[in-house]
Symmetry: C2
Subunit: 325 residues, 2 copies
């Protein structure tokens, strides 16, 4: 009466089985042994299947962003700075003993949930570059949003600390199931002339033009200290950073200096850089800024004042500092 085939194991029939087992475990709350009995498999197999489910994104565990942005601190910050949403990563211990990497990981994780809250189908999303952005890309769960595009905001550049710029963009795109527009140019060139020439190449021009019509940006903000990402990636020299600081630079966003009011400061290596402009960012209706660490207090305020932020993700200490300043 049934088909004679013993095991109907065409390729992805396995997927269907995995999903069903995931439902029993995560949904119904059955124990692994119960499931094993039911399907006449060993418990070890069930364990492996469940791991598979998580790794392959068949089950997706996500945290509701609304709740992350629900604290009173969040609301206070929204009001004080005119932001749309503020998501706060709260790290347990107050005495600063948490390592920066732990803190950053948590901020990144919160950011990744915030992103899923903010992104809408069809959005064109600009992704910047840096330690923070890399952490965010890494933390994002696989969760497609139909019709999205991801654009790389900063030219490709190697850095000891961080995967290259296009790697970040591609990872975000993969996680979102988005089409990815990479920027086929280095982030920094040796002379302004060369940069300028490159920018007039049709292909590059097209890529840069796209950045002026973004729906959303995901960026971090850097400080001007000597261990800043700009220096670590050989984009700016220590001397240039020093000079920028003297001209009032309070922060770095998308490899561009901004002053305390968020206005752009076009000083070296400004014209050797290939990246989205401050105006490109400003033009996007949704602008997510992800920041971790009190040393970025001024930079964060600057970015906000400059209209470069609509949604903020920060750690609790920074958030408190923002309120109290």
């Amino acid at each position: 009466m049934n088909k004679p085939s013993k095991l109907p194991t065409v390729k992805s029939d396995k997927d269907a089985l995995l999903s069903n087992i995931a439902l029993l475990y995560y949904g119904e709350g059955l124990t692994q042994s119960e499931i094993a009995k039911r399907y006449k498999l060993s418990r070890v197999t069930i364990v492996n299947m469940l791991r598979d489910c998580r790794e392959r994104g068949i089950v997706e565990i996500r945290v509701d962003g609304q709740h992350l942005a629900a604290s009173s601190l969040s609301r206070d910050l929204c009001e004080k700075y005119g932001l749309q949403d503020v998501y706060i990563a709260v790290d347990g211990i107050e005495d600063g003993s948490t390592r920066r990497s732990d803190k950053l990981a948590q901020v990144a994780r919160v950011a990744s949930m915030a992103i899923l809250d903010i992104v809408e189908p069809g959005d064109r999303i600009g992704v910047a570059w840096g330690e923070t952005i890399a952490a965010v890309a890494n933390a994002m769960p696989r969760n497609s949003v139909p019709g999205t595009q991801v654009c790389q905001l900063i030219g490709s550049q190697e850095s000891a600390r961080v995967p290259a710029s296009e790697i970040c963009a591609i990872e975000v795109a993969n996680k979102l199931g988005a089409q990815c527009h990479t920027l086929h140019a280095p982030g920094i060139l040796s002379s302004a002339e060369l940069a300028s020439a490159l920018k007039s190449e049709v292909t590059i021009q097209t890529q840069l033009a796209r950045l002026s019509s973004l729906d959303m940006t995901i960026a971090a903000v850097g400080h001007l200290g000597r261990d800043t990402h700009m220096a670590a990636a050989d984009i700016a020299s220590i001397a240039e950073l020093e000079a920028a600081r003297h001209q009032g630079a309070a922060g770095i966003i998308c490899c561009r200096y901004i002053d305390g009011n968020g206005q752009e400061i076009r000083t070296a290596p400004y014209d050797r850089i290939i990246a989205a402009s401050i105006n490109d960012i400003k033009a996007a209706p949704k602008k997510l800024l992800v920041v971790c660490g009190n040393d970025r207090l001024d930079a964060t305020r600057a970015a906000i004042h400059g209209g470069l932020v609509t949604h903020l993700v920060a750690d609790r200490e920074l958030a408190e500092a923002l309120i109290n300043s």
Copy 2:
């Protein structure tokens, strides 16, 4: 330097903490003890918090519907019957030893994932009534879809086996964060005259009118056996069911009889019923049918042939029977 308040515990600051802990546990993969240490709480507290997170929908564990509809059986059924998607619940043991309640629970769980796949923001969704629908409502995770409305398809009626019709609709609405339009009338009246009078009441008329412009329906299909839901809920008598069967009724959907081709059979208690019409269902562009059990084979085929189904959720045995028939 900081605010003097010892614990910034305004109402939902706790939610923010819960989310963060959920992220560490589910996202980062930290162990409960590690989290407890980090936040200086006891492990028991963490356990409780995580339970809270799940119960309150702060973490949401969902299974990707695509994978549920990925088996070759699904694809075969889509092709054979011209359906858009078929989701199959695969219960472990083949010898039929699985209790119907277990099987139904699994089908319902699969259905609830399917629903999340199918529903789009702004949809007006009709929800029918019965054992199956109740199970689906129960299995659905809390997952809001913006701008959705839920409409009760069948008037309110008590039944020993199943929570009343409006309860099902309301539960689905709650889970989807949808506005809920209940039907303020009994499902069955003692006479056609009374039913007719009631249907001309403006309020009822408005409610019924809404049902002709649904974006999606969620229904099950009943058989004509004597333990059918229609009888259990005192909507149709055994005699009436018998009569309907003689007139060729092959199934019941939304308290309406349909013949083997899915055409409506307007026999008793047809005109004493207050519920959506077969045409209302037919008019919806997305029609999800949830069925469990081989005894509904004919009824399911009938509903499909009548154009009352675009998406199907079924258990594996039924799915195989549909393929082999």
